[in-house]
């Protein structure tokens, strides 16, 4: 991108922000459209530069990037959430995405010791502990095992964690953006464990990363053998460094913290290891002072991604598309209902695109907006029969100090001018 076009973009982005912050002057937009009609739309009547001058040749971008007009579609963080950027989180721009697959470059990141940069030639995966043979695999070895391709969502257990105490962040990127969904290519962990030969008392595995946090989580053997995957590709290309290059563990439907990145070791044992990330963190404090542990499954959940605070309605009344995401760690999403009046009345939305177990599902609700304020919500159901609860139902049982596993129904307040705000309702 040229310096000049970057400056133009910056200006555009700044003015767009001001526009959104000031609220939408709907009349101005409509007036401009009317003028265009009378004189003929210059986008049509004038010859545009791109219609006259040649564009870049094939070598301009050996690895392609999104259009410069999409430069605002990026991960963002909230600096005050954590102590330091190298042990922090950023968020997927859900409000600007559609479909069910998250582009690799905007999949949210959560690191505990920064992004490890690992030469695959120097990477090893060890299997040790209660096995017949303790083994070491190189990347070349791993790529000689039979592979599988699976589409899975990955959600941080703390997604929506800031919302336990009430509406806080204005944007589904920030309230729900600790989730992404890609197609993984990898080797079933089962094959690696079988190669090593699990002893009969091997009931747990410990997954360990090679990063500066040497991240560890205990996983029950039943899950390890059921559907865990040692993945080396995402969306067809090598894992991004921030997603665990060269390999990460996929633990489908379970909290993202268990999907150990930069995976270097699988230990087999007869008891869980009570590691830092499964005792002091990723345990859910309840109002009576006790805490739940081993809360692995990500519950059924959904959110409307557009309209949402970062994606207001700019077209005025009339035909409107509500677009959103639903997912469940229990399997497939079977139904999503949408409410326009804060949960008093519901209508069933249209699920579109592939419906895959433990993957994001896309839903749409198409309707005529009469321009009156709305309180829009979505409510997902999964194939295990679980229904997404309200935030207040969750708070009634769990209080507000759980941090993790907040899958409550999200409400967006769509105002008459199309501006959207994060709210809580009665």
């Amino acid at each position: 991108m040229s310096k000049q076009s970057r400056e133009n973009l910056d200006k555009k982005a700044a003015s767009r922000r001001r526009f959104l912050q000031a609220g939408i002057a709907g009349g101005a937009t409509l007036a401009a459209a009317a003028t265009a009609r009378a004189a003929g739309d210059p986008a049509i009547t004038e010859v545009q530069d791109w219609n006259r001058y040649l564009g870049d040749g094939v070598d301009a971008a050996p690895y392609g990037q999104p259009s410069e007009f999409e430069a605002h579609v990026v991960r963002r963080d909230v600096p005050w959430l954590t102590a330091d950027p190298v042990s922090s989180i950023n968020f997927t721009p859900l409000h600007d995405l559609d479909g069910i697959i998250t582009p690799n470059g905007v999949c949210f990141e959560r690191h505990h010791g920064g992004t490890a940069i690992i030469d695959p030639a120097e990477h090893r995966l060890m299997i040790n502990g209660l096995v017949d043979k303790q083994l070491v695999f190189t990347m070349d070895d791993l790529k000689r095992f039979p592979r599988e391709n699976r589409v899975y969502f990955l959600e941080c257990a703390a997604n929506s964690g800031m919302e336990w105490r009430g509406a806080q962040l204005n944007g589904c990127q920030f309230t729900h953006g600790m989730v992404h969904c890609v197609v993984y290519t990898g080797v079933p962990l089962k094959y690696l464990l079988e190669e090593a030969g699990v002893k009969t008392n091997g009931k747990w595995v410990l997954a360990e990363g090679a990063d500066a946090a040497a991240m560890t989580r205990s996983i029950p053997m039943e899950k390890a053998l059921e559907d865990c995957l040692v993945a080396f590709k995402m969306n067809g290309e090598a894992l991004r460094p921030e997603q665990g290059y060269p390999i990460r563990l996929c633990v489908p439907g379970w909290e993202g913290n268990m999907w150990v990145k930069w995976l270097r070791r699988i230990e087999v044992g007869d008891e869980p290891w009570a590691q830092r990330e499964e005792t002091s963190k990723y345990t859910d404090l309840l109002p009576d002072g006790t805490a739940r542990r081993h809360t692995w499954v990500m519950d059924v959940k959904s959110v409307i991604t557009s309209p949402s605070p970062q994606a207001p309605i700019t077209h005025g009344r009339g035909r409107t598309v509500i677009s959103g995401l639903a997912w469940s760690g229990n399997g497939k999403v079977t139904r999503v209902d949408v409410s326009l009046d804060g949960g008093r009345n519901w209508q069933t939305a249209r699920l579109d695109g592939p419906s895959l177990s433990k993957a994001l599902h896309r839903f749409y609700f198409d309707f005529d907006w009469d321009g009156s304020p709305l309180l829009i919500q979505s409510r997902a159901m999964d194939e295990a029969g679980f229904i997404q609860p309200t935030k207040n139902e969750l708070r009634a049982v769990r209080g507000t100090n759980s941090i993790y596993h907040n899958n409550g129904i999200q409400t967006w307040h769509v105002k008459g001018d199309g501006v959207v705000e994060n709210v809580e309702v009665s």
Binding site: G113, K133, V136, Q168, T279, L285, N345, W346, V423, V425
Partner: protein, 364 residues
């Protein structure tokens, strides 16, 4: 392509050099040979039966025992220059039909690589020529092998053979030193604790030098860095303070985590004794031990229990009222009257460079 060949050659060379590591035991090989003896004979007066006799096998061109009726494939292999040596035999004995597609030998192959090595060692004792054969490493390093590799890229299949039984025969056995280098996890029952010790007083010095910059001199936490001490009896408060003393269930987690990931940005720089000392100091900061001379070691480690251990329970979310019923969701008039807004987002501008004062809950 050249790069690939070089890499392949290097691998082959390493494999060949590594081969003596699997040097077989002829006595063990004699036992393995019982499987072969159903069809093959060897030793004085041996005659071809279902299979050819195997005297002087090492160095023999494939398919050349007089009077034995070989498969066309085996004869062709010999005419193509295949000679029985350690490498070809190893390949053949693991999966005969892989090396010579169409061989009459019905034997499925020996599964254990040690069996293969042992039986070859046994066969060698009946092959006088074998002793003079050049060592595998020299052969692989010679120009002749390079040419052969270059002419026949398929020879990349001569990769190191598995040193273990397995469904796929991939990977290799880890050495004890390798396992020891990475297997540093410690469990609540003490499994994995290294031998060592450290006192509260030593820990205070180490903590001040290595930890206090983020965690504060007394574990009170600097900025948003974790608070490590205090917070007892706050778990039911509006703002609970979750520390080692107030929340963590097991002391082993402290030892394990400090050893694997602390100090932040300089992980694994502390000795095992240092970690015992720092752990002892953290016990002291949390009033779990009160004597500055207290020494924590692998001997007394599991005697210490953290106060909150009993307050953790297994996941029972499915029994919560909103989930337990699994009833059909309400679709019409689910709330008595028009819905009211009870709260709006407190942080109205969440652009990344926002200076908004935070009052929200953290997520770490």
């Amino acid at each position: 392509m050249l790069k690939y060949l070089k890499a392949a050659l290097l691998t082959a060379t390493i494999a060949a050099v590594a081969a003596p590591a699997f040097a077989g035991d002829p006595e063990e090989g004699a036992k393995v040979f019982r499987k072969c003896a159903a069809c093959h004979s060897i030793g004085e007066g041996a005659k071809s039966r279902v299979g050819p006799e195997l005297n002087e096998l090492l160095g023999r061109t494939a398919g050349t025992v007089d009077g034995f009726k070989y498969s066309a494939a085996m004869v062709a292999a010999g005419e193509g220059g295949m000679v029985w040596d350690e490498q070809t035999l190893t390949h053949f004995l693991v999966k005969p039909k892989d090396l010579v597609k169409g061989t009459k030998m019905a034997f499925a192959g020996l599964r254990k690589s040690t069996d293969v090595a042992n039986v070859i060692a046994y066969l060698k004792t009946f092959s006088e020529g074998a002793a003079e054969a050049p060592a595998e490493g020299e052969a692989a390093a010679s120009g002749g092998t390079e040419v052969a590799m270059a002419e026949k890229p398929a020879a990349a299949a001569d990769a190191p053979l598995p040193d273990h039984e397995g469904v796929f025969g991939l990977g290799r056995l880890a050495t004890d030193d390798e396992v020891a280098a990475w297997d540093m996890d410690v469990r609540p029952d003490g499994l994995g604790l290294p031998v060592g010790k450290g006192t509260v007083a030593d820990g205070e010095v180490l903590f001040t030098e290595n930890c206090a910059v983020c965690h504060g001199d007394f574990g009170e936490g600097v900025g948003r860095w974790p608070v490590l001490a205090g917070g007892q009896d706050t778990l039911t408060d509006d703002r609970p303070v979750k520390t080692i003393g107030s929340y963590w269930p097991y002391l082993s987690t402290v030892y394990d985590y400090v050893r694997r990931a602390m100090p932040f940005g300089n992980a694994r720089s502390l000795s095992d004794d240092d970690v015992y000392a720092i752990t002892a100091y953290l016990l002291y900061l949390n009033d779990i031990v009160t004597d500055e001379d207290f020494e924590l070691s692998n001997e007394n480690f599991t005697d210490i229990h953290l106060p909150n251990e009993a307050n953790f329970k297994e996941d029972d979310r499915a029994q919560e009222p909103q989930y337990a019923e699994k009833k059909e969701p309400c679709m019409k008039d689910c709330k008595p009257g028009p819905v009211e807004i009870t709260m709006t987002a407190r942080v109205l501008d969440v652009t990344p460079d926002s200076d908004e004062e935070n009052t929200g809950g953290g997520i770490d």
